[in-house]
Subunit: 234 residues, 2 copies
Amino acid sequence: MFHGKVRAVGFDADDTLWVNEPFFDQAKAEVAEMMSVHLPSEKFLEVLEKTLSRNIKSFGYGVKNFVISMIDAANQVAPGNVKSSEIERMIDLGRAMLFNPVELIEGVEEVLQTLGSSYELLMITKGDVAEQQRKIDLSGMAEYFDHIEILTEKDGAAYESILRKHSIGHEEFLMVGNSVKSDILPVVTIGGSAVHIPFHTTWVNEVVCDGELCGREYVEISEVSELLPLLIYS
Amino acid sequence: MFHGKVRAVGFDADDTLWVNEPFFDQAKAEVAEMMSVHLPSEKFLEVLEKTLSRNIKSFGYGVKNFVISMIDAANQVAPGNVKSSEIERMIDLGRAMLFNPVELIEGVEEVLQTLGSSYELLMITKGDVAEQQRKIDLSGMAEYFDHIEILTEKDGAAYESILRKHSIGHEEFLMVGNSVKSDILPVVTIGGSAVHIPFHTTWVNEVVCDGELCGREYVEISEVSELLPLLIYS
């Protein structure tokens, strides 16, 4: 389907190459449970999401903002009633996340290996550079990529600048990822192609409303291995 | 003095090119004052330094670790008695630091401009990449440097790897900075030269004991402009 036209394939990393969001979800659930004496869990999670989203503007994506925002949210929900042991636990949860193992999503290595002989491969991720670099190193996947880019924000301008830097035409580029907001929408908007692989859990801040997608076309698959018929055997 | 031998000059950034530590000191003083109902300020500052130093291993250098560590230290010192407004203030202090203006140290621009015509110039800093990049951009100094490196840790291995990358011989390299631990000691240890410009305030975690320096030689000056006679008119 994309064969002949596309010559460079970009891959998102978190929840596309390896598991990420479940670690955050697990920590959120634990803190929500902790706070449930003050507020029902789903209400606390709403406050936490709003807090995370606001704090990203200052503290960026990643575990450090997550720690600050858990404490911040708990402090809003139960002012003066957040226990010392609870704050300690939130810091420890974050610390542990920074030492999590990196679990590749099934099929990833085979797909990268196969595509690598026919396409220029780019890893395009966003977030805290140190955190992303740690995961890249642990994943063992760096060798499959021609270029690795860690961005602050994945918007049209950021993709434009990467394509310019590597002399890739918009129409020659295909982006693969789990986030419609970060991986699909900005790429199709600038004239590239995109394949969406929904991960079973996607962060609420990454969900876009349908309206924004109106008129934009992209392909949706359920597993990374389905890329091969789209890019190799077509 | 270094003329003829040195061909590449590395500059530390925080508190060598621009003011940094005073912003941290100011925030520390405010939080210590806040906590003084529980513990004398100098005692609190000791706890805070230990906490910062321990947390760096997980959360790295920079403002985000600073916010987490302020809360962590307050929580240790006054468990169950840290007010909601105090936690909020600590988060706000960090947020504000991320939007601080960048104030160049006097003489820096002239020195870079002058040295640039005779030497390869490198900026070698450590810390959170996003935070450092923001300061680099705001400083307007990037144009004077041939290479800019943001490291996780400034040790001998890190300097070795930079010199290798840019094909600079150890004896051809001179490092300039305010931290004996990060800018001077590792460089003289691998056979480079170093000029120390003490900043009026140096973070306690960056102070090395004399023993470590035994037998190592470096030059100490009090202002960046004193580099010129050492490197140009000698």
